[in-house]
Amino acid sequence: MVLKLTDVRTDLFNDWCPGCGDFGIEASLQLALTEMGIDIDKVVLFSGIGCHGKIVHWTNTFGIHTLHGRTLAFAQGAKLANPGLEVIALGGDGDGFGIGAGHFVHAGRRNIDMTYIVHDNGVYGLTKGQASPTQRLGEQTKSLPQPNINSGINPILLALSTGYTFIARSYAFNTRHLKETIKKAVSHNGLALVDVLQPCPTYNDIETKAWYDGEDRRDASGKAVPRIYDVNSQGYDPVVTSKMPQEDFDRKIEQIFRLSNEWGNKIPIGVFYQEEDRPTYADRILQRIPTYVEMPPAKQDIFGTDNKSVVDLAELSRELAIDATEI
């Protein structure tokens, strides 16, 4: 079925602040869904608590607005129960890298086939602008009485070190890039992170749209010189395979380390890492339970036509109970 944007966008009132980067993320996500031609009934959006979380209401798919920080844990459970769902989780930077950091780390170990999009705005938006875990040391966004006393984490490297097999960064107001990145992330077989630089005009007066776009820096012709550039279009190839020589792999990791730490004058976006041949969690389960994909927990018949349980209790109890031939 060919979808139009209006098919996936709801007509509910959207209460994000004017100029919020979340609008760009919403549009990019919805465009990606329409263009990918996936079965929209199978798409489920999971979000956390924060400004970002409301996106599930503006999008015409199954969705659940979970607890603050628990999006990934909740979404992984759902995907494990029904691997036929197209799971897209959305989090805030506070949500995903602060209160939910443990889940972020451990999701990498599992490599469940799903997508995680982070609205990275440097602040706890919904609670009025406190410094989020990605805000840099010494920065002082609007609500802070003093400069930020913590250093910021690097989501790209955190994801890299914990096992994410698709790691990308995009920019909320580059909807073309973000849309394409989301499409790649969703198509990727494994756990994909898209960290989206998201201006929050209300509370982040440092990393603003104007700043990202380089309005403060003009070339000779007076044109703004954007800070953001696309690494992939500049020839960086993110693909990693298990067969590649160790040296090449090491070089790639060094490159990612360097690129992901670039900030200030030049800010790279794009796919940093892409590894297709690491087994997903479903592959690993399949090694043990060959029927897992056709008969996952949510799809098994747990009762027969008579509503009675289908489990052979006698067999189970025989080994558990002492010699019970029947119990």
Partner: protein, 596 residues
């Protein structure tokens, strides 16, 4: 009391050693021997939170009639260390015996009427291995001989234990056991014989295993946990049966991930459950509210251990009831069930799933260390014919259920239960939300919150959730009476504490005391009017539970206004002994407020 058989019909055995000596597996072998000799069993695992050393013990109560708890005292003590002797010798009954290795244990201060049976356990064991590791098998031989049980039964149990892995090990263990058996036989020391029936095995299960079995029988296909005693046997069992049952077992990074993943799995359509002990449950609390708010069914089992905080990881308690009554913020419906023993646990698992799904609420099950981990009890005639009820799950829209493309997932209905669809179902798309929401799942917390036209809707949504409790309470089980109705004293108890109460009731009635017990398994929501009627007993009421404040007693008072005449509360971490109940009841008889 349907049964007035006397002492000879039962036996209590305690094996004690250091951790790492294999006392739990020795205890389980002995339990097998007695179960295969047709006896009813109840065991307790006196564990410590360490891997080697210290002192651990395994207690078996077996009888020709049903036994419920640890019984009275110890008839046979088998201490493999001096510490084990010192800790337990005072509990040995008159007429009982201590089987010990004289080169290890000095049996000082043995009471009159207690026989010491010296057996060179270590010396015999060394004949079969370089290290005296088989001394507990020799001791089992001696014990089996003393009990007058056929040696073959022990030999079979040994083969079961070691045979599959290593037939050679089984063989030498059998030889070692035989020496212990013959030695005691030749001493002519055999003294204690029950009526054995080798043709009839009595199956035994711990409550943890019975609960796991009941859960998969009821359709549980997703189990999540983070390791924590004494709930770990459940995840071990689930993981080792994952393939056979098509189960997905999720070992989360913490209990927060565990419960959120479980709710996620349930939301996606699986029957999903997670398990933990009190500390882990404390971390899960916010998410239990999430399940209630999004009306996603979830089953959580808390195998209680003594707290607070890390507490006594391998000791028992019934101290988590207050937490369950007050889980996380504000009011939401929940079901709290506390099975008494293994058989109860099996059925409770199924009931919990059906109730959780029918009412779309969290169901909490309270087990405890005493019955959960190492607390085996006989289960006879479990009925596997479980009827699954998934409640109002819909797969096609009914008239009026969908509007503007949205499924009215949280519809206000007469019975306060809304139709539910699973993600992936065409034409039944909805959003769910941990914020307050309207019938479609859309926000009442943002632009609409506090607006006067939306206040009544918030009230309705909140009431819809809470009012489920009214229907649930009518479905829950009322307390059961053990013993005859009408007694001078009624012990009011719940969960596993019902077991020592039963044994005390039996014993007291033999002494002519008019006593019965009232056993609660379904703790919340309470059906106040029915319970008030039931508790309108002429005699005195004594509450029995394993916590400091009397958490259930307080709940009863809160919900029904009924005040107990006395209470027996225990919180040293050990299970309640029938003798302690007996003492409490007898002192109440003298109108004394009893605390053991």
């Amino acid at each position: 009391m349907e049964n007035d058989e006397t002492k000879g019909a039962e036996v209590t055995i305690r094996l004690g050693a250091a951790a790492g000596d294999g006392i739990q597996s020795a205890g389980e072998m002995m339990m097998k021997v007695l179960a295969r000799s047709g006896l009813y069993i109840s065991t307790y695992n006196g564990n410590q939170s360490l891997i080697r050393g210290g002192h651990v013990w395994f207690h078996i109560h077996a009888g020709t009639r049903k036994v419920y708890s640890l019984g009275y005292g110890i008839d046979f003590l088998v201490p493999l260390t001096q510490l084990a002797f010192d800790q337990h010798f005072e509990s040995v009954n008159t007429g009982g015996a201590v089987i010990y290795d004289p080169s290890i244990v000095k049996p000082h201060d043995l009471q009159q009427g207690v026989r010491g049976i010296p057996v060179p356990l270590g010396e015999i064991a060394l004949k079969y291995d370089k290290r005296p590791i088989m001394k507990n098998t020799v001791a089992l031989g001696a014990l089996t001989s003393n009990l007058g049980v056929k040696f073959e039964v022990l030999a079979d149990a040994i083969t079961d234990q070691f045979g599959r892995k290593n037939p050679g090990v089984a063989e030498s263990n059998i030889k070692a056991a035989r020496e212990g058996y013959d030695l005691v036989k030749n001493l002519g020391a055999q003294s204690f014989e029950l009526k054995y029936d080798y043709s009839c095995t009595k199956p035994v299960l711990t409550a943890d295993y019975a609960f796991a079995l009941g859960a998969v029988n009821a359709g549980c296909r997703f189990y999540a946990a983070y390791p924590m005693s004494p709930a770990s046997p459940i995840v071990h069992w689930m993981a080792s049966h994952a393939k056979q049952l098509g189960l997905t077992v999720f070992l989360g990074e913490d209990e927060i991930s565990v419960i959120n993943a479980t709710i996620g799995a349930s939301y996606a359509g699986a029957r999903a459950m997670c398990g933990t002990s009190g500390g882990g449950f404390a971390l899960m609390q916010e998410a239990v509210g999430e399940a209630a708010m999004t009306e996603t069914p979830v089953v959580v089992v808390d195998v209680m251990r003594a707290g607070p905080s890390t507490g006594l990881p391998t000791k028992t308690s019934q101290g988590d009831l207050n937490m369950m009554l007050g889980i996380s913020q504000d009011d939401f419906p929940r079901i709290i069930l506390a099975p008494r023993d293994s058989a109860d646990s099996f059925y409770t698992a199924g009931r919990a799933f059906n109730l959780a799904e029918r009412y779309q609420v969290p169901a909490i099950i309270l087990l405890d260390f005493a019955i959960g981990d190492g607390g085996y009890s006989t289960v006879e005639g479990l009925d596997p014919s479980f009827t699954v009820d998934r409640g109002k799950v819909v797969s096609v829209p009914s008239p009026g259920a969908v509007s503007g493309g949205w499924f009215r997932r949280f519809a206000l209905t007469d019975d306060n239960i809304s139709p539910r669809s699973f993600p992936g179902t065409p034409d039944l798309m909805f959003v769910a939300k941990t914020d307050e929401h309207d019938e479609w799942g859309h926000d009442l917390s943002d632009v609409n919150s506090g607006l006067k036209e939306f206040l009544p809707l918030r009230v309705k949504m909140h009431e819809k959730r809470m009012k489920k409790l009214e229907s649930i309470k009518k479905e829950l089980r009322l307390p059961e009476i053990f013993g005859p109705t009408g007694a001078d004293i009624t012990i009011v108890t719940w969960g596993s504490s019902a077991n020592p109460a039963r044994e005390a009731v039996q014993r007291l009635r033999m002494q002519g005391v008019s006593v019965n017990s009232l056993e609660f398994t379904d703790l919340y929501p309470l059906n106040e009017s029915e319970i008030k009627r039931i508790l309108q007993v002429p005699g005195k009421k004594v509450a029995l539970e394993a916590n400091y404040t009397g958490q259930f007693e307080t709940l009863l008072k809160r919900e029904t206004g009924i005040i107990m005449d006395a209470h027996i509360r225990k919180y040293d971490g050990e299970p309640i002994y029938p003798s302690e109940v007996e003492k409490g009841v007898l002192s109440l008889r003298k109108e004394v407020h009893a605390v053991v």
